[in-house]
Symmetry: C2
Subunit: 356 residues, 2 copies
């Protein structure tokens, strides 16, 4: 089995803890470990380092090399973000070149999994199916009528134990539809975790993104050469930014399977989502999470992250998020924490890109 | 008329904006002016600088001299805090020595007055009464059933226009009693503002605090001499810490009057109280007050004071106080902001006196 960890995303959903130059996957927002390293540790039991590939943004190459200096993993840097399809195509090409005939697991670097063993079992099952030629997705068993994710509808009958055919991928639903999906029991969350052989993937790229596929083909011989970066950049500049779901999965003629995963998954997409994940492990009996140089008095259900040098005192708060860093402070209603993007926009308008 | 401004208090009710070394009266928490300077400006029209005395703590002498360098006011430093009775006795002695036969107005340095002209009118009326030998207090016309202040009960009949005899001083009431006082209409808040001639005051000190009075007498000749500070320190060390209300007003045999004052007074005793004062003047249409490098989005009735170098972003807050400084941050429910004393206590327990 080969594993590609996609760590190329950027984002400021965890501003001010995350910054443009330090996105979520490089932050230790859960425990002491940057998420990309935790993701690696989670799948380490499945493959030797030589079969693990990290795909990162060029701007994070040095930090990634530093973080993984004690390992023998492969690191590949994308010259710019082009969403997941080019990233997965590149990973498939790289792994094919390594000579891998076995299935390739593709997973994001910034998810949280409570039950790592259950997660690895799902990947093993998915890999077994994928080695026979289809594309397998992990389907997260939903626990609430979430409107923020795409869903996967499974077949009524299983192909084998805990493996189903995918009937269709559906876009983010409205709340009523999400409730129906939850009640129906045959819908899963699409976590963007895929398993297929490099050969299967590249066949699909040759059909659905032929120009990009040709570009990958011409890169093949240059992976270890000095002008590789330049060639990859030239290819990426010509390639549209598009998701793997949209470019490949919605159009593929290959058999597509889903393996249900009940492993305490979270995409940790907002401060509130992070709070929910950490509350399971760390809360103080009043629903509070605190980190760093913080002092909480009479607080409930609040989340105080003190990452600056300063003391952060919280008094009588309920459902409040406090994130303190040395050059920016955010105080928000926890339930509105996804609106941090509006703060970012406002800071951009003010030209305060220095603190983004 | 002589005026003594009592600026000796310490306190951390406005922590982290106020600190032990920088109490409220030296802060510009309303507008750009430190409260002690605003207090001086408010009464400047009543007396020339030579008849104005500031009584400050020794630790604030240098800062006071700097703040008032452009004036000719008198500055007297207390070696330690001993509450208001010794402070007023000292001020009376100092003014008597200046040769003042006229009435002496004594007022705290850290109150807010919305209508300065109405306030000065009250002081003029009080001074006229005091010059005939009694002690006059200002009685703040109550606007709510406040349980945090002492009250003054006035006589049914006025002595002259807007001057009443005091029936009694009453301690902080419970809410029900405060409601009764408010409804009755013959109770005022005791703001600790007194007017009397130095002679009247010193007579009272000789009766009620004879040892302290004798000490003042022996200081009389030393006010301008090098060993004055040392002698004053020796006197203060022997003197109990006691309020003027308790030591003198409750026991005096002099006639005591009250002049009703309807001048938008606030003792600005907590962050919430400050918020209420400033909301009258500054709020943004959603009840928010912001100061410094702050960004508010979708906030209501919140108070964001950004006194540090950092940006403070507030998102979706309701009734929340944020006070950011370079070495400490406070986030609190505005209604619980008086509990900042609990934070102070906790910091003391932790030995974090450096940030107090």
């Amino acid at each position: 089995m080969y594993i590609a960890i996609m760590a190329g995303g950027s984002g400021t959903r965890f501003w001010p803890a995350s910054r443009q130059w330090r996105p979520k996957q490089f932050l230790n927002i859960i425990g002491d470990t940057p998420m990309v390293l935790a993701t690696y540790q989670r799948i380490q039991a499945l493959a030797p380092d030589e079969r693990i590939l990290l795909v990162v943004g060029e701007q994070h190459r040095a930090e990634t090399e530093r973080l993984f200096a004690h390992t023998a993993v492969n690191i590949l840097a994308e010259p710019m973000g082009r969403n997941t399809a080019p990233c997965i195509g590149l990973a498939a090409k790289y792994v094919e070149r390594l000579g891998g005939g076995g299935p390739l697991v593709i997973l994001p670097a910034d998810h949280f999994i409570a039950d790592a063993e259950a997660f690895r079992d799902c990947l093993r099952r998915a890999a077994a199916v994928a080695s026979r030629g289809g594309i397998v997705t992990l389907g997260i068993v939903p626990t609430r009528p979430e409107t923020g994710y795409g869903y996967i509808e499974r077949s009524a009958e299983s192909e084998q134990e805990n493996v189903f055919r995918v009937v269709k991928f559906v876009e983010k639903p409205d709340l009523q539809t999400a409730g129906r999906y939850l009640a129906a029991g045959n819908y899963f969350w699409n976590a963007g975790i895929f398993v297929a052989t490099p050969q299967t993937l590249l066949e699909e790229f040759s059909l659905q993104m032929p120009a990009f596929y040709d570009g990958l083909e011409s890169l093949r011989a240059t992976f270890d050469q000095p002008h590789f970066s330049e060639q990859l950049k030239s290819l990426y500049e010509k390639t549209e930014s598009i998701s793997f779901d949209y470019a490949i999965m919605e159009k593929t003629t290959k058999p597509v399977y889903v393996v249900p995963a009940n492993c305490g998954w979270s995409d940790v997409g907002s401060w509130f989502s992070l709070y929910e994940v950490r509350r399971e492990q760390e809360q103080d009996g009043f629903g509070n999470i605190q980190e760093g140089n913080a002092l909480l008095l009479n607080c409930k259900n609040s989340f105080v992250v003190a990452r600056g040098k300063r003391l952060a005192a919280a008094l009588g708060l309920n459902n409040i998020l406090v994130v303190d860093t040395d050059d920016a402070l955010l105080v928000a209603d926890l339930a509105h924490s996804q609106e941090v993007k509006d703060v970012i926009n406002r800071l951009m308008e003010r030209g305060l890109t220095r603190i983004l």
